[in-house]
Symmetry: C2
Subunit: 116 residues, 2 copies
């Protein structure tokens, strides 16, 4: 059994035209023997956003901390701690931080998709 605070996992920074102020970590993945699905934790700094993109694998997301919005079908929907999101494969999506502090969420993907 692995028990670890997510902040102890290796951090990868994302900053470009498409993504701003994002830190990603693999909390549970292939290296742990998790062969079916992978848990990543993302932190978005104030005003940060994930890329608006589409891919053929699904996301299961749980908002842990902070305030933000998710892009769905052309509009922005509010998300807050306790919000669960299911993004089916091939559906466009994006998440942005609209709060004053960090937005932290758990994002799971099936095996076969890139872990980070």
């Amino acid at each position: 059994m692995k028990i670890m605070h997510y902040s102890k996992a290796e951090a990868k920074q994302f900053d470009s035209d498409q993504v701003k102020g994002v830190t990603g970590r693999v909390a549970i993945g292939k290296a742990d023997g998790a062969d079916n699905f992978c848990m990543r934790i993302f932190e978005l700094e104030k005003d940060g956003f994930s890329p608006r993109h589409t891919h053929d694998w699904e996301h299961e997301i749980f908002i842990h901390q902070g305030r933000g919005e998710a892009f769905r079908d052309g509009s922005w929907e509010p998300v807050s701690p306790g919000t669960a999101l299911f993004i089916p494969g091939n559906e466009e999506h994006q998440i942005r931080n609209t709060g004053d502090g960090k937005l932290v969420f758990v994002c799971l993907i099936p095996s076969g998709a890139p872990e980070l």
Copy 2:
């Protein structure tokens, strides 16, 4: 895309000799088209605990709120918001609330296992 606070999902109560003060909800599952893995949210009331048991599917857990402990290899390990746990299949496990408020965690299972 489904966006829903977990508290809006149907709640199932668990109370017996083996489990105390546990409320479970399926936040994302088969009914949503999630064919690979399932997201459940569990709330343990003060002094509540999940059953000590073993099964052949794995858990990926993320502690959202509260204070607790996880049973691993004969001893209790502390868990708190941000702790990730990977419980491989066929490993004995149990979680208990040791805080003054609710212990809330996300628990994911692969498809094929009972959703709740």
